[in-house]
């Protein structure tokens, strides 16, 4: 140890190489290593790039849906139109249909335009009214029915502008395109410009889009996502409450308890196969079993949830089984060795260790369920449905409702471009909903992650 400099005879066959210089083989291997790592980074980059591109598309197309142009309008609720007998009998007031409210609106719009002092070739009140949403009369009627004592007063209303006017303020609609449009003419826009100047027409944040209900094709400006969101919410409650326990229980049985024989093999293959069954087939099943056989109500989130549960189960089962398999047997041995029963070993030790995979399966399965429309088509949740808020929790499960993706598909199909904008806006809401839903799972998953 003292004489380091002295040359030791009989040096080993290997020439001691320096650690600081790489030999050829190491160089090659390190290059492979670098490449391998680069592939990984590239893979993530590819994924994130596409995510960014998609999110960019969604956000740039969708944010406009969150604002809406409104017109502030003084409307005189003429007694002779709304309550001819003047006795404020609600039954009689109700007899006046929305068509009966049109004259009030006509008058109000004409007054508004005259007050604004714009010169316009449009003279007919019917044409001027095209500035407003065609749902205006309905809003008016609902107000009157709710407040019959206001009949005779002049009430200030904030009414959604029609989709073209809204589009104009958002830059979606141009004067040139309106020239060919039979819904609105460029002359209308002069009025809009003037009214905007005066603050009568204003763009503001559109809570109704987030909280409101669907509207028909003729009034895109009133369509909202709120009710469909509740539909999705109740469906997800059902899916989560059923698919997670059933999926995990199934996996535990198959992975830990089932005897190894052809029958369990059959079940195993069968479950993977269920994952490949097109989702619309689950709709066929749901229609036959839940509606026609079990007589559950049509278009109900409960049924939707049940169908989606069946659809999500394979995803959760496959991922749960995979992660149960990956728990080392020594953990089971250790538990059994201190006298735990198999059930205890599984529930106390194996399951917590498999939790990350289970949660991943849940995240992916729920994402899939949340975005699925095809099976809903057959059990009656796609179309013009989400128009009433459910009256209570039970009602939320059984009263007809739609779901967010169904609403989005429905909007994307509609003719008016304003709906297209809303479809993208709906996608933003859907994603926010999804992320909120996942955050808990993601946090839980991080807590359960460990290496051993």
């Amino acid at each position: 140890m003292t004489d380091i400099s002295s040359n030791t005879p009989g040096q080993g066959a290997r020439v001691a190489s320096s650690l600081l210089t790489e030999d050829k083989r190491t160089k090659k291997r390190n290059a492979a290593e670098k490449r391998f790592k680069a592939y990984g980074i590239a893979a993530i980059a590819v994924g994130l790039f596409f995510l960014a591109a998609l999110l960019f598309a969604i956000i740039s197309n969708g944010t406009r849906a969150f604002t809406q142009t409104f017109v502030t309008l003084d409307i005189e609720l003429l007694e002779e139109k709304l309550d001819k007998n003047g006795n404020r009998d609600i039954e009689e007031i109700k007899k006046v249909s929305t068509f009966g409210y049109s004259p009030l609106l006509d008058a109000a719009v004409t007054k508004m335009v005259t007050d604004s002092g714009v010169e316009t070739p449009i003279t007919k009140a019917k044409d001027l009214k095209q500035l407003l949403s065609s749902g205006a009369a309905g809003d008016l009627r609902a107000f009157v029915v709710a407040n019959p004592d206001r009949i005779g007063d002049t009430v200030e209303f904030r009414i959604a502008a029609s989709s073209r006017v809204d589009g104009y303020l958002k830059g979606r609609v141009t004067r040139e395109s309106l020239a060919r449009d039979k819904n609105l003419s460029p002359e209308h826009l002069d009025i809009v410009d003037a009214l905007k100047e005066q603050g009568v027409v204003k763009k503001s944040f559109n809570w109704d889009f987030i909280l409101g209900a669907d509207a028909s094709d003729s009034r895109p400006e009133q369509a909202g996502m709120g009710v469909a969101m509740l539909g999705s919410f109740f469906m997800m409650l059902v899916v989560l409450a059923l698919s997670l326990p059933i999926g995990v229980a199934t996996s535990i049985y198959l992975e830990e308890f089932a005897p190894q024989n052809w029958f369990t093999d059959l079940i195993e293959v069968n479950i993977s196969n269920l994952a490949a069954v097109p989702s619309i087939v689950f709709g066929i099943l749901g229609l036959a079993v839940f509606i026609q056989f079990a007589h559950l109500p049509q278009s109900a989130p409960l049924v939707g949830g049940l169908v989606l549960t069946l659809m999500t189960l394979p995803t959760i089962i496959i991922s749960t089984r995979a992660s149960l398999k990956s728990v080392p047997p020594s953990i089971r041995d250790a538990a059994l060795g201190v006298g735990a029963s198999k059930m205890q070993a599984v529930f106390h030790h194996v399951l917590p260790l498999a939790m990350p995979g289970i949660l991943t399966g849940t995240i992916i399965g729920l994402a899939q369920a949340l975005g699925e429309t095809a099976p809903l088509l057959l059990i009656g949740m796609v179309g013009f449905i989400a128009s009433n808020y459910p009256e209570g929790v039970m009602d939320g499960f059984v009263s007809p409702n739609s779901a967010m993706p169904a609403q989005i598909y429905e909007w994307a199909k509609r003719a008016d471009p304003a709906f297209y904008e809303r479809a993208w806006g709906g996608i933003i809401i859907l994603l926010v909903f999804l992320i909120t839903m996942n955050i808990i799972a993601i946090f839980l998953r991080r807590r359960f992650e460990r290496r051993w």
């Binding site: 047997p329 953990i331 538990a335 059994l336 060795g337 201190v338 006298g339 735990a340 029963s341 051993w452």
Partner: protein, 266 residues
């Protein structure tokens, strides 16, 4: 070898048989790992299994509390009785059996939980403690018996997997004794322990022998001689010789035993 000590511990004749195994065969798939083994393990004694690596000691040990059930390809035949009851009987609940017959595995396998939970797990599922304080007491006592209390008393919340090899081994011993089994099977419990810790574990074994029976697999002839009253020598899946420890070490009847013992170096 210290013959005096061995002689000192020779067991009395009136002992009771705790475990009796007759004609045990174990197969791993097609391999016949244990052949025709007959052993009687007496109550309140320490029995040592010795033999070259791979001869089937662990396999046989695992038969005694049916841990082999967990290996798919493993098949056990023959008759193994504890207190006269066939443990492979259909009516026997392997869980109850394992609560009665505790085990320390050859490879330490702590749960990926805190040290405290590792030890407390058994008492919890067997309902041995009524209160947190009682459980704390059991945990402390077990860790002390496992000769590891001093090292971990300040880090009971640290994960059991973050311990050193020998510490893990002692943790597993502590975990096994915490459930107070009637029979304790220990597969090379001191393999990773330093002499002092080994001595403490041996003391524990001696203490346990007062009320329970202990089966220990060891590669150290000295250890076998020190702690056991009976010794079984396995070779290539056969039980070659089984008898009083003193006699086996001083006067083996089978020449394989003889040569194994005399060829010893450790």
């Amino acid at each position: 070898m210290d013959d005096l000590r061995s002689v000192e511990r020779i067991v009395s004749d009136d002992e009771k048989t705790k475990i009796s195994a007759k004609n045990v065969q174990v197969y791993y798939g097609d391999t016949h790992a244990i052949r025709d083994v007959d052993v009687e393990i007496a109550d309140k004694t320490v029995t040592a299994f010795i033999g070259p690596s791979g001869c089937g000691k662990s396999t046989f040990l695992r038969c005694l509390n049916r841990m082999n059930d967990t290996i798919d390809i493993c098949r056990v035949e023959g008759d193994i009785r504890i207190d006269g009851e066939d443990i492979y009987d259909k009516r026997v609940d392997p869980v109850q059996l394992r609560a009665k017959v505790g085990m320390v595995f050859q490879k330490p396998n702590p749960f990926p939980k805190s040290i405290y939970d590792n030890v407390a797990y058994g008492p919890r599922i067997h309902g041995l403690a009524h209160s947190k304080a009682e459980l704390d007491e059991i945990v402390e006592k077990s860790l002390r018996r496992g000769a590891i209390w001093n090292e971990v008393k300040d880090r009971l919340d640290a994960p059991g997997t973050g311990l050193s090899g020998g510490q893990q081994q002692r943790l597993c011993i502590a975990r096994a004794v915490a459930t107070e089994p009637e029979v304790l099977l220990m597969d090379e419990p001191c393999s990773a322990l330093d002499p002092i810790a080994t001595a403490q574990v041996e003391e524990l074994i001696d203490e346990l022998r007062q009320s329970y029976s202990v089966v220990i697999v060891t590669h150290s002839m000295q250890q076998a001689a020190r702690v056991s009253q009976r010794t079984a020598f396995f070779h290539l899946g056969n039980l070659v010789e089984f008898g009083e420890t003193g006699q086996i070490f001083t006067n083996p009847t089978d020449e394989r035993t003889e040569s194994y013992i005399s060829g010893r170096i450790g």
